[in-house]
Symmetry: C2
Subunit: 178 residues, 2 copies
């Protein structure tokens, strides 16, 4: 899933994403479903505000990874929610980014492709640091791969496994302020 | 006007541009001007298609420069139109990009800030190469700066001055295929 992203490529993907949203507005206007259009616009605004919040976090490596992951067509769809209203504390960005990249790669290979696989990452303040929930729902077909990863790679970070079944994996990662 | 653009910054600007477009749609929907909304959407689609055409040109340096210039708040507003339907021929991207960067910088300093200054770049096939029109309209307050630039820097490229008054500057640049 490695790739260099230049300004042309970033805008190509961004333009594609926005054109899909515009299509949704256009389609509903053509059907004269104006109330639906208003709801769609509200949802787009909330999504953009969430992206702005993510982009303001002082962890450029992790933020860039989250912004580009869906463009690399992993076998899961990534969503995120940032529950931080004030300025966030600084954490070890490099460590978190490396771990998350490896986790994404592992998850990509562990789940059944072309299924409704979702990964929701929630970011919130916690104690003197930040707490990240990685909540996967979908179809896991290679549990061992994930087990090995979690056993080997999680020593670097404080990772707690909250749920691990065939259809769900929930991890809690705590990053202390630095 | 030098700046490093990473994925977070590119998306920040792109999101800002798209939110302005969305605001235009939302405002007209709130006023129940549905026909106006349809026109706005058509215009956005045409603009995006033009940006796609630009992004497909085999001159990444020049394309990146055009995509990011308005974000750097020059004292003119840049627009471009790509009149190429088929695959474009390759030209000397580095040479064109260097010249254009210097021209933008010179124009930025030669025009009156906070006025309606527009630069339209048109790109079209011509003979065995490509032809670029740089069409400025606005208020030029430092003609000498532009004259010196055009006398000194245009030896590298085939630049013809088609019009040069206080309110207009039109340059034709021919780039042969390589």
């Amino acid at each position: 899933m490695e790739k260099q992203w230049d300004i042309i490529e970033v805008l190509r993907h961004s333009r594609h994403d926005w054109m899909n949203k515009l299509q949704l507005i256009k389609g509903n206007i053509d059907l004269n479903r104006i109330d639906r259009v208003k709801t769609v616009i509200e949802e787009i605004i909330i999504e953009a505000q969430n992206e702005t919040k993510l982009s303001n976090l002082p962890m450029p490596g992790f933020v860039s990874l989250l912004l580009k992951t869906n463009w690399e067509n992993p076998s899961f769809e990534l969503e995120y929610e940032v529950l931080i209203e004030k300025e966030a504390v600084k954490i070890d960005d490099e460590n978190l980014t490396n771990w998350t990249e490896q986790f994404f790669s592992c998850l990509h290979n562990a789940v059944e492709a072309f299924q409704a696989n979702h990964l929701l990452i929630t970011i919130e303040p916690y104690s003197n640091g930040l707490r990240f929930f990685f909540n996967f729902s979908g179809i896991i077909i290679n549990r061992e791969l994930l087990e090995t990863f979690l056993a080997e790679r999680s020593s670097l970070l404080k990772v707690a496994i909250k749920e691990f079944s065939q259809n769900e994996l929930t991890l809690e990662v705590f990053m202390p302020a630095i």
